[in-house]
């Protein structure tokens, strides 16, 4: 039973709810009835609210904001923001100073291998002709079975009929465009994965990928491998793939992979850890840093909320080594023929994910090798150890942190250091 004090409190509470108040006010002397009336009415009011789950039951909310406010939005004025690298994603690392102010393009002795879903002929052409930023795709490697025989094909012509049957594509196109923005004119070899409904391509983790890269490393002058994918299981049970990786490391090839977007330790989600290739010590793993504040749970200069993290120290070597902007990176979407400019091009939109942090770092490594060549006045490549030294020198952090790793690599600082190291090595 309610005492008069409690009733007064209730009365005050429902002051604005005049209808309730009037109902309660009536028949004031019969407290039991009033109590029943109030409870019944409250039940009636609360039932639908509780049942619709709008107020109380939010236990499955991940407390995790949408990654970026501008995800998939068009990049405004791409000629300036991408062409002149004035977007915050580039000015953050000083890439604008190296590439736009100093006009540094990647020399012809640097080749990046990108392993991804597929590439249409129009996407290939757009990546080579896009007016804001472009690359030089020197080859497309795929795998198929013909007449019972397994064949690996190296295609150099974007009009090749094989490219007409690419079921899965678009991600690779976006990744190479992120590379193109910083590493202008860089030579690219595309390794085609067989994904979902693809008729051909290499199976994920196929030994033949590594056999081809290793066998062609010298002739194609391959320096960097960029792989923006994650895998939940160990695909190297037989040691042959590890042997190929070891061989590539001996040839000073740096292998970069995405840390993953499941915002957890070891990139875990739904009971699985999507930690490979990051979990292999041969690979350098790249997470995402916020180059500006985007979203409720995002902080500038800190790891993007979605970016996965790994070991607490470098001892296990299963770590994320660096963070690069991946929270709103200009990428190409669609491809079309621009009749006015008479070229193939795409629409620049903002992409989100460690998929794009990875080619960003690959582009900085391409600048490092180009800077070293320029300082040395020769096409002799720096050793892998020298490249890592330069990356650590240009890192925003001196010490390793589980969340922040070595921070981001400053492109301006990295290029300058590489040039200087080249001069010293003359």
């Amino acid at each position: 039973m309610l005492c008069s004090n409690e009733y007064n409190k209730l009365k005050k509470y429902f002051k604005k709810k005049k209808i309730l108040f009037l109902i309660c006010k009536r028949d004031f002397k019969l407290r039991k009835e009033r109590y029943f009336s109030l409870c019944v009415i409250l039940s009636i009011i609360l039932s639908p609210i509780l049942c619709n789950n709008k107020l109380l039951f939010r236990k499955n909310d991940l407390n995790y904001a949408v990654p970026a406010g501008d995800m998939d939005d068009p990049v405004p004025n791409p000629a300036v923001n991408v062409g002149n690298l004035q977007d915050g994603a580039y000015t953050y690392t000083g890439a604008d100073i190296v590439v736009y102010d100093y006009g540094i393009h990647i020399d012809s002795y640097v080749t990046v291998v990108v392993i991804d879903d597929g590439l249409l002929k129009n996407e290939w052409k757009a990546l080579e002709q896009n007016p804001e930023a472009n690359v030089n795709i020197i080859g497309f490697v795929t795998n198929f079975t013909y007449g019972g025989e397994n064949c690996t094909e190296y295609i150099t012509n974007p009009n090749d009929s094989l490219l007409e049957y690419q079921e899965e594509h678009g991600h690779g196109y976006a990744v190479i465009s992120a590379l193109a923005a910083v590493a202008r004119d860089v030579k690219v070899i595309f390794i085609d994965l067989k994904i979902k409904n693809d008729i051909y391509g290499f199976e994920y983790g196929d030994y033949k990928i590594w056999d081809w890269i290793d066998n062609n490393q010298a002739s194609k002058d391959i320096d960097i491998i960029s792989w923006s994918w994650v895998m939940r299981e160990n695909f190297t049970e037989n040691t042959s793939i590890h042997q190929k990786w070891a061989s590539l490391l001996d040839k000073n090839v740096i292998m970069l992979t995405a840390a993953g977007n499941y915002y957890t330790y070891l990139n875990a989600r739904w009971g699985h850890e999507y930690k490979y290739q990051s979990y292999y010590s041969e690979w350098y793993s790249v997470g995402s840093i916020n180059h500006e504040t985007k979203g409720n749970y995002e902080y500038k200069d800190y790891k993007s909320a979605f970016s996965a993290w790994y070991e607490a120290s470098t001892e296990g070597n299963h770590i994320v080594n660096w963070l690069e902007p991946g929270n709103g990176i200009p990428i190409l979407n669609d491809s079309y023929y621009d009749t006015q400019e008479q070229c193939w091009r795409g629409e620049w939109i903002y992409g989100v994910g460690t998929s794009f942090s990875t080619p960003y770092l690959a582009a900085i490594v391409a600048l490092i090798i180009t800077g070293y060549h320029a300082g040395l006045t020769s096409s002799t490549d720096p050793s892998l150890q020298k490249v890592i030294e330069i990356l650590l020198y240009a890192s925003s952090r001196d010490t390793f942190d589980q969340q922040m790793r070595y921070g981001y690599v400053d492109a301006y600082s990295a290029y300058g250091k590489a040039y200087y190291e080249g001069v010293l090595a003359r």
């Binding site: 029943f36 909310d61 949408v66 199976e203 939940r232 994910g353 998929s355």
Partner: protein
């Protein structure tokens, strides 16, 4: 008579106060639900990355995504996986293990789902650690499609993923599909724009009965008041 009426009302109220939260959980209907709605094909020895001493199976499934709201909802994929549907298993032969082949591009994508049910297709590939299998071994297989969406506060929220169970006993297969507890809205022939006025949540019968009890109690209270005033 008055005393028994009071008792009835007291019991009713206690009943409601104690059970309303439980009924609300039962009546909870997430905005986005997902379920594996059909098993199209089960293929042993499907093409894929080789693993020694294992058989690679493929199961092609139809997946339904239900948006209960009356406006489009944004579903977010933190990784573009080769299959968004998942599977695990408990085998009669306990030495067997299922290992889902799952990989994806580390790109965050968002998709808009209209009100009502959207059907998609997924091909799950998984290894069972025994070579040369030509059919699924005896056991229970659970299939589901986890899903995240952006709620009205702008946060990523987990939708409800209903499980579909494949039971295999002595080679006989029995499939139990998860159910949405959802009535497909009846199409109005005069209004082709069905997406603007579809879907309404259906609360559990238990919650509905409580509401009826509440209304009855209210009627009794008002009736008694009126009787006394006379």
């Amino acid at each position: 008579m008055i005393k028994s009426s009071n008792k009835f009302l007291t019991i009713t109220l206690i009943f409601q106060i104690l059970l309303l939260p439980i009924s609300s959980v039962n009546g909870y209907q997430p905005v986005i639900d997902s379920r594996v709605s059909k098993i199209n094909e089960i293929t042993p020895n499907i093409s894929g990355p080789y693993q020694p001493n294992s058989t690679l199976f493929g199961i092609e499934v139809e997946v339904e995504i239900l948006n209960r709201d009356n406006k489009s909802q944004t579903v977010i994929e933190l990784t573009d996986l080769n299959s968004y549907a998942f599977i695990n298993a408990s085998f009669v032969n306990q030495s067997l293990q299922l290992d889902l082949l799952s990989y994806g591009a580390a790109i965050i994508r968002q998709y808009s789902y209209k009100p009502g049910i959207t059907t998609e297709y997924n091909l799950m590939k998984f290894y069972i650690n025994q070579s040369g299998l030509t059919y699924l071994p005896d056991g229970n297989y659970t299939l589901w499609r986890p899903i995240l969406f952006i709620n009205s506060s702008g946060n990523i929220t987990e939708g409800e993923s209903l499980s579909t169970i494949i039971s295999i006993n002595d080679g006989n297969m029995n499939i139990t599909y998860g159910s949405f507890n959802y009535q497909v809205p009846i199409e109005d022939d005069n209004n082709l724009d069905i997406n603007d006025q579809t879907t309404e949540t259906i609360n559990s019968p238990f919650t509905e009965s409580l509401l009826i009890i509440s209304l009855l109690s209210c009627v009794i209270v008002i009736w008694r008041k009126k009787t006394k005033m006379k």
